[in-house]
Amino acid sequence: MTNLSDVSAIERLISGVPGTKLDVAAMLSHRNLARQLDSDSAATSSPAHQVQPTTKIPMRRVSEGALVLTPSPRRPPVIRHFEGEQQYEGTVIAINLRDRNFTARLASVNGNAPDEEGEFSLDELNGDENLVVPGALFTWTIGLQSRGQKGQQIRVSDIRFRRLPPVTKEAIAKAENEAEELSAFLLRTAIEAPIIATL
């Protein structure tokens, strides 16, 4: 994907897209953009959505016409590569609030190994705690991560719960139609009398 850390890259990207309206000159103006970002991001895009104002983006002037948004130094570097040495798909079986853990069944993604089980702490889920319900799915990957521009390598264990979207009305309707068709056929054609078999 395009690196948007400099305005020239943004210009090139946008210029190739037909119908894009962008006041590039305004974008190049440091002060104008800062004001615009503050006001745009504070506005609601639709009644349901309130976006938090991004008033605290630190910015620095590199040279006239260039605008760079400086990331906070505490932000973790981007994962460039993640070699999964062991990967599981987990399903929550039970939750033990007293012991602050949950039990999960694990299906190995690498190969056909038998299912496993184990307990995981509820306190090490990095914000996924409220997703832990019986039946919830998660991925658990252990492997070597390559991070940042210089490709710093670190072996990690990553548990990440699936944030599955709600089932859409269309999907439910489609499921209902298919189920209705199958059900009607099966109920209509089932054998009524006892089956007489020969040996």
Binding site: E85, Q86, E89, T91, I93, A94, N96, N101, T103, R105, L106, A107, N112, P114, D115, E116, E117, G118, E119, F120, S121, E124, V133, P134, G135, L137, W140, I142, G143, R155, V156, S157, R162, L164, P166, V167, K169, A171, I172, A175, E176, E178, A179, E180, L182, S183, A184, F185, L186, L187, T189, A190, I191, E192, P194, I195, I196, A197, T198, L199
Partner: protein, 378 residues
């Protein structure tokens, strides 16, 4: 007797498979005809355990399996069932009628939309019923019959060398109505976004199919996960009130609901079973839950000393270690990492069909053991 030796034509066989999570019952009713109730996965091969076994004893599933019954939709009873049914091309398929209604099938279809490597019960059943339809639409003709109270599924004709009758005893009409209502309520909740579209197995089990097998003079009761409640129109009470079990005295019993208290009925032991029948049990091991408990085992052993269980419910097998650095990281994340299942436990009972006095031989394979020697819970 070698494990891979098939039964002789005149030999009855009841094989019960259960590795800890999962149950399957396979019955040779005579002369090469087999009946399968439920399926589970053999952890070694990741295939349907009854299918594996039949192939290992040289039985050809396509012609040999005559009847496949899904006793209900719970994942521990149906994993691998579609694989089995796909191989059993001559088989009649049976399950509770409520599972063929659009309410259940809609939920199964919605559930199947979501990803997951561990297959879900309803999805497995949906696939089985789709296969049943595909077969019915081809020249093979209709091949399904619903289970219900006192319903004769399958019986031999008058010329057969063995007199066989297979009757389903449940679910009762009341259980059927409850299931339909429950599914309707569930779909409504899913449509309103009030519920995740994931069917959770709840008690009581309103779709469990208990089966009575009559093979010449012998009677065998397969209890599935049928439970006992105070309502006489459901569960074992409804079965006992039926006509099919009148005058029944079964010599063997696949104990209901993994030997749990909720599956127990004194009346079943007293009215439907011989004194000291052969009792066959599969455990249920899921997370912290371990059934049968010590109390359950004592209760069963008080009824019969001839009781066997396919696997020790309290046995926990450590999962194999991974390579050094990966293991170190895993140890810091997961506690008590273990195999979800032990080996595929297998209880096999064989007896001559024409000699009901001969109690036959019970063999135990791959971790199956007498109920009396099961270890205490840790």
């Amino acid at each position: 007797m070698s494990k891979t030796q098939p039964p002789s034509p005149g030999e009855l066989e009841v094989s019960v498979f259960g590795p800890g999570y999962g149950e399957s019952v396979l019955v040779h009713v005579g002369y090469g005809a087999w009946v399968v109730i439920d399926s589970c996965i053999d952890p070694k091969t990741n295939r349907s355990a009854p299918l594996n076994y039949l192939e290992s004893i040289g039985v050809v599933p396509e012609s040999a399996i005559r009847l496949v019954v899904a006793s209900h939709w719970h994942a521990d009873h149906v994993r691998g069932l579609h694989q089995l049914l796909s191989a059993a091309t001559s088989a009649i398929f049976s399950c509770a009628e409520s599972l063929a209604r659009n309410e259940f099938l809609t939920l199964a279809k919605i559930e199947a939309m979501e990803p997951g490597k561990i297959p879900l019960g309803p999805e497995e059943l949906y696939r089985c019923l789709t296969t049943v339809r595909e077969r019915a639409e081809t020249s093979r003709g209709h091949q399904h019959k619903w289970a219900g109270p006192d319903r004769i599924l399958w019986q031999t004709d008058k010329h057969a060398p063995v007199k066989i009758r297979i009757t389903t005893l449940s679910p009762s009409d009341e259980m059927h109505s409850r299931t339909v209502q429950t599914m309707l309520n569930y779909i409504t909740a899913v449509k309103k976004g009030l519920s995740e579209p994931r069917l959770i197995a709840t008690c009581p089990n309103d779709v469990a199919v208990a089966v009575l097998l009559e093979i010449n003079e012998r009677q065998i009761l397969l209890g599935s996960d049928l439970e006992q409640e105070s309502n006489v129109a459901v569960g074992w009470s409804a079965v006992l009130a039926g006509e099919a079990v009148k005058d029944s005295k079964c010599c063997a019993f696949k104990v209901a609901h993994h030997g749990s208290y909720s599956g127990h009925s004194d009346a079943v032991w007293e009215e439907l079973l011989e004194t000291s029948p052969l009792a066959l049990i599969t455990p249920f091991r899921h997370g912290d839950l371990r059934i049968p408990t010590g109390g359950d085992r004592a209760r069963i052993l008080a009824r019969t000393g001839d009781a066997y269980i396919s696997a020790d419910p309290n046995l926990s097998t450590k999962a194999p270690k991974k390579s050094g650095k990966v293991q170190a990281i895993m140890s810091n994340t997961i506690m008590n990492r273990r195999l979800a299942n032990g080996p595929m436990g297998h209880i096999r009972w064989r007896a001559p069909i024409n000699d009901p006095a001969d109690r036959g031989l019970v063999e135990l394979f791959d971790g199956a053991l007498p109920l009396a020697v099961v270890s205490s819970a840790a």
